[in-house]
Subunit: 132 residues, 4 copies
């Protein structure tokens, strides 16, 4: 099971819509079930540094099939996965990356959102993920 | 002068349209005037290896403000720019990258297309560039 | 809106002047609005390791349009952006990177300074930024 | 023996002067005797891709204490140093990089110029090197 470009673009459009509601400017990335980039959009004026972060959030969410923020709890000093961010050419483990599932519950990819507070990033990613 | 997301998405849509006419599956990347990723789409079934190539073609076209194939002529053994591909974390210098200009002729970004023959890649990129 | 070389060199000169007042030796980098290197100077005897840090500070300040030290507060263990430094081929998130604005308030680039205490780095960067 | 920042900035200024005479826009880098970046300038409108190439030309000239074009003759297919460009995180071996010597003939650094034809790049680098 793999995401289609049409689905990925629907996810991007949903993320853009939610971002405008929240009055924030986001970088939005969608990867497929192989963690390969499928679609991307940088809203006008969104942070340049968030291009890479949005992509890494999407990758990270698919690498481990969970929300990026969950990994971040375990990567703190003293925790089980301390500094896991050094793997895979750099993970991003704070909120904003969310797995994408089809109606049967299969993971078909992931979305990563970056450009505002992590709460906003996560809210936009979650809204976008539910659009499928 | 910098490309907007709306313009970049129009370029992607034009590239998708042309690719379907040619019955090919493409990865399509758009960078802005600072050579930063602005929009991306991988058509269903397009080569995974072309994700990076499409992005590098777009970057290369903006790095030197010319079609990528022009640089490739000069980077051959014995030519003036032999092995220029080792710069900038990797250039792609065969056809498929084309600068994007606004109606005044200012360069506002670039598009990179990869997934078929270089002739098809270039044809799709050129068609897409003319859509602005 | 993008910084000119003349403006960037003025920023460098101001940073050198302030560094001499403080009796410190700095590496000073200026990037443009696309986060691309525009001007650089290493004062005689300044740390070699600060070449890359000054450049990364300037990039980081432009990537997120804020002083690098602000990001560093949020990237601590337990904070919202823990380990954000793994993105973008390496961020530097302690003080010394400052966005550059024109008289209208548009961000036109950023300056990064490294070579002394972070307080001195930030003082020199701020002084330099105000020279535009 | 090592280049000073004052000398490096004189080299940059000479390169800018010569570039304006030739009506070309150059990226200009100066490294010291340790091949570390000492000064850099990107003339307004110079190619973004030439930032890295100018730096790599300067490094390459100092890495081997000869003009970059000399190395390029030896890095061709079938020649002694074929594909030496893969070393040192990427060399640039076409003309435009020139060692810098003091009046005693000691090599104190190197200059790299990129932004036009390799003939112009070399002419500007040579002119700049003679300004010391």
């Amino acid at each position: 099971m793999n995401i289609t470009l049409a689905q990925a673009q629907k996810v991007i459009a949903a993320a853009e819509k939610k971002s405008k509601e929240l009055d924030v400017k986001m970088d939005i990335a969608v990867v497929d079930s192989g963690a390969n980039l499928t679609a991307f959009a940088r809203m006008d004026g969104a942070w340049l540094g968030s291009v890479d972060i949005a992509i890494k959030k999407a990758e990270t969410a698919r690498f481990f099939d969970m929300n990026t923020g969950e990994i971040g709890k375990l990567s703190q000093p003293g925790e089980a996965l301390f500094n896991i961010e050094h793997s895979n050419n750099g993970l991003i483990t704070f909120p904003g990356g969310v797995p994408l599932k089809n109606k049967s519950g299969d993971i078909i990819g992931a979305v990563g959102v970056s450009g505002s507070s992590v709460d906003n990033d996560h809210a936009v990613a979650t809204f976008a993920a539910e659009s499928i």
